[in-house]
Amino acid sequence: MQSISSRAFISAMMVASGLFAQQNLSENYVPLKSQGTLPEVFTQDIKKVVKQDITDLNKSKDNDKNLKSTYFTEANYEIEKIVKSGNTLINDEVSLYLNRLADVLLKNNPTLRNELHIYALKSSVVNAYSYDKGYIFIDLGLIAQAETEAQLAYILSHEISHYTKKHNIQGYVKNEKIDRDHYSGKSYDDKLLEKCQYSKEFESEADLEGFKLFELSNYNFTQAEKAFDVLQYAHLPFELVEFKKSFLETDYFKIPDAYQLKEVSSIKNNANEDDSKSTHPNTAKRKVAIGELIKNRNNSGRVDYILSEKDFMYVRDLARFEMCRLYLKNRDYPNAFYAAYILEQKYPNNQYLAEVISKCLYAISLYDKGDVRYNKDSHLSDGIVGHSEIESYPQQIYFLINKMPANEWTIMSLNYIYRSHKKFPNSVPLNAMADSMFTLIKNVSWGISDFVRTDQKKAAETVVKKDTVVKEIKSKTDMIANIQQERINNNHDTAYYKDIYLDLFMNDKEFVSKFPAASNVEFTPSSGSGFGDYKPSRNNDYVKTEVKRKKKGKKGDNIENNVKIEKVILLEPFYIQIDRAADKIDNLSSDQKQEKLIETVKTIAEKENFQTVALDPGLLTSGDVDKVNDYSVLNDWFFEKFDGDRNSDGVPIFNTDQVENLVKKYGTSYVLKIGIISLKGGRKRTWFYSGIIDLKTNKEVFKLYEVFREKDTRDLINSKIYQTFFELKHGK
């Protein structure tokens, strides 16, 4: 274990070496990455750790040895799983900041401090978690919502108290005892209430114990109370500001007032909600309890910031930028848009924010068109909901999305995206998205004539000969000549968006050359970006929302016959074993089988001389932090790709920028994912999946998905893995 001084020394060295030079957020944002040396949990032999824990347990006099032994096994695997998930940030700016907070809180307790392992978790959820062995994870969603350093410190104190009071193991033992009590005649609800009751007791205890720890530092007591407000309003965005439609307007484009929701709903206060079936007491009760403690204490001289306000604001902004990325990953475009909009008020020239907003606009264009879809398995299971289901100012974004017709949204999106591209010409995603927007416009037969008023056309006619037909647009006069030849739809002559591109038509050669003036202009989008390759599934049809589904092949067939691949990036295979009798996932068995699966895949790939680049947290050394980051990027990419709708081949993955670098780095754009789900107890079932996604085209180029009424035997698994590699190498 490192001592506090050695931790501080390492942090100082990292800062000195430039590893943690603060980002210039006014210009751009680079997503958070893990840094430095990977912690021991990556390289340890978990079986040995579990064995040691159980050996230590057996030396003690304990009545619940069996239960605790199971707990130690499951907890160790669980911790390892979280740390290696790709969502845990290691030695990054936010995690280091959290550790500095812990240093402040525990400056007089170095022993306890050294037991803690504190990490930021890449999740938009507003929560924090304490595990056995001092592992504490704080969601970026929580950090983004925190108002002061002191609030964050109190939340950290709360989590540390869970650890010191051993709530985790006690909770496990208690839960198991309640579940195993078959003879008391208690119903499921009775048992749930009982579990929630003692869980609430643990939470209350952690609140109070946490406060004692918090009190030892010089933080403002009232911030502990306010921390509960953060939790209370966690469902709202990290800030509430009015969304003004002018944000999307230009001198030539004014959005009608009818699209702006003027009055937004008030915010509901659920602080006193019924918490009988909740694991936590309601926030009102918790606030009262802390309020009682504060009442009798002298708060003078106590401060909101001990480290520094600047550092807190910076770290919180990092978390908020990450929220934009996480919302995009979850395909939650309205929230991503709103989060970026809030940050844009502070950082108006930030390229990353322009990219996020552009992605949202583009994605919603595709959503309107029916190509981006959601289903019950999606993170947004209800898709983009109506504004009435949202509270406060974010309603205005939802209102605009739902109110503005699809074609107008597309026109507006191209306007914003193209202008952002001009503002940040070096941005690859903006360039690619602008190209894709031109494709979208072209595919619905929008032409220049749709954006020229009749009187302007007449004016143009006086300049250009009437019989001029220009096939290839090389100049402004060519363009105007073509306008002359196009039919004007007089019904739309007065449409508010008619002038939206006027200045671009007149002054921007690139825009003119790319804009589909008529059907005689061929336009090829840039490729390889993950955006430009997108081809809409239907032409000339904005009205229908139903999309023709891709014709499915025979079950188990490759998606593309005879695809031959010799090198792949191999993502960590997954193995889920469901215990039917217990009606839950058997984590221990799943983890153990996953380890074997990894070995099998590796062995068979080697045997077949198949080139694989393993991006697997189970196969890393302490210096492989880059691979952890790469794994995380690909995991996020997969998460977005397979969020609910499996038939979204070709639809852009918006979390794609970093993937480009991976393709270059590893020399292949093919990513292989293998996974097994098996049922044990009762009827046996095994699901086998192996699939290859081409990161360049976002398409699944190989798929082997089969279901067996069998146990997950070794011969089944070997056979299918071998088949995967064989068919990849030789074609089907």
Binding site: D715, N718, Q723, E727
Partner: protein
């Protein structure tokens, strides 16, 4: 031999082509030993036992099964097709449940007009005779969807040549005949069975289902059941009373007794079998 040649040719052809066959981890051959077990119902085992006899000389009510031993070699032609060749050996016995037809005795009035029946009664020969059989099969296994040969569930079919040899002790297999209509006299005699060692050949068709598991990546464990289709179709007539009650009067002559009854018996042994094979894949 011709069919073996065709099989060999097919294997060589598919081995050279870039077939879609993965085999099991690249291993396409498997060879091994199989044990087939079928219940000795209305027929005897080699050691003279039967579960439910047919009125013959076997010890009825025993826990009796016929066993067949097999050597096989198989090759994965494609992902779902496996071709194989096997030789099966078995030993059984016929417990002489069937009676022997008689020759009309001269100068005897032997038809009883009152009972509308012949008044002769014959018995089956004493003792039993042994049969050893060798079956040669060329077969194909078609693996079910999602399985890959040689691993998984399959349907098996293919032609089978059954050869078998009956060995008998003619002096021990005496029969008797009683004339009730005239004198009630019983005559014991030695029928004319022919050679003491007789060879026969029959054609049949193998059908079955099985499940092939692979242990430790090299050991194959194959289990299931199969039938000989022709033998199966004869099941009803073979187990009906024809051979015991009426055959004595209407059918089996002394000289055809061994051929007819050996055919019954070998059909019985091969009719339905459960099997367990253990092999090595390479």
């Amino acid at each position: 031999m011709r069919i073996l040649f065709i099989l060999l040719f097919t294997i060589l052809l598919t081995a050279h082509g870039r077939a879609q066959t993965p085999g099991y981890m690249g291993k396409r051959f498997q060879a091994g030993y199989g044990l087939y077990v079928g219940p000795a119902l209305r027929g005897s085992t080699a050691n003279g036992r039967t579960i439910f006899g047919d009125g013959g000389n076997a010890e009825s009510g025993s826990f009796a099964f016929n066993t067949t031993h097999e050597a096989y070699i198989e090759y994965a032609l494609t992902k779902i097709i496996m071709a194989g060749f096997s030789v099966r050996y078995y030993k059984t016995a016929y417990d002489n449940a069937a009676r022997i037809g008689y020759t009309q005795p001269n100068n005897y009035y032997n038809y009883n007009y009152y009972s509308n029946n012949y008044d002769f009664s014959t018995t089956g020969p004493k003792g039993s005779y042994s049969i050893t059989g060798l079956n040669y099969s060329v077969y194909f296994k078609i693996y079910f969807r999602n399985f890959s040969a040689p691993w998984g569930r399959y349907f098996i079919f293919g032609p089978t040549l059954r050869t078998y040899t009956a060995k008998l002790d003619t002096t021990a297999m005496k029969a008797s005949i009683t004339d009730y209509s005239y004198s009630g006299k019983t005559l014991t005699y030695t029928p004319l069975y022919g050679d003491t060692k007789q060879h026969f050949t029959t054609f049949d068709f193998l059908l079955g289902f099985g499940r092939n598991r692979i242990l430790y990546d090299h050991v194959s464990l194959d289990y299931g059941f199969n039938v000989n289709a022709v033998a199966f179709l004869y099941a009803l007539s073979d187990v009906s009373g024809a051979r015991s009650s009426t055959a004595g009067q209407l059918g089996i002559t002394e000289i055809s007794y061994i051929e007819t009854t050996a055919k019954w018996r070998t059909r019985g042994v091969n009719r339905l079998n459960a099997f367990l094979k253990i092999g090595y894949i390479f």
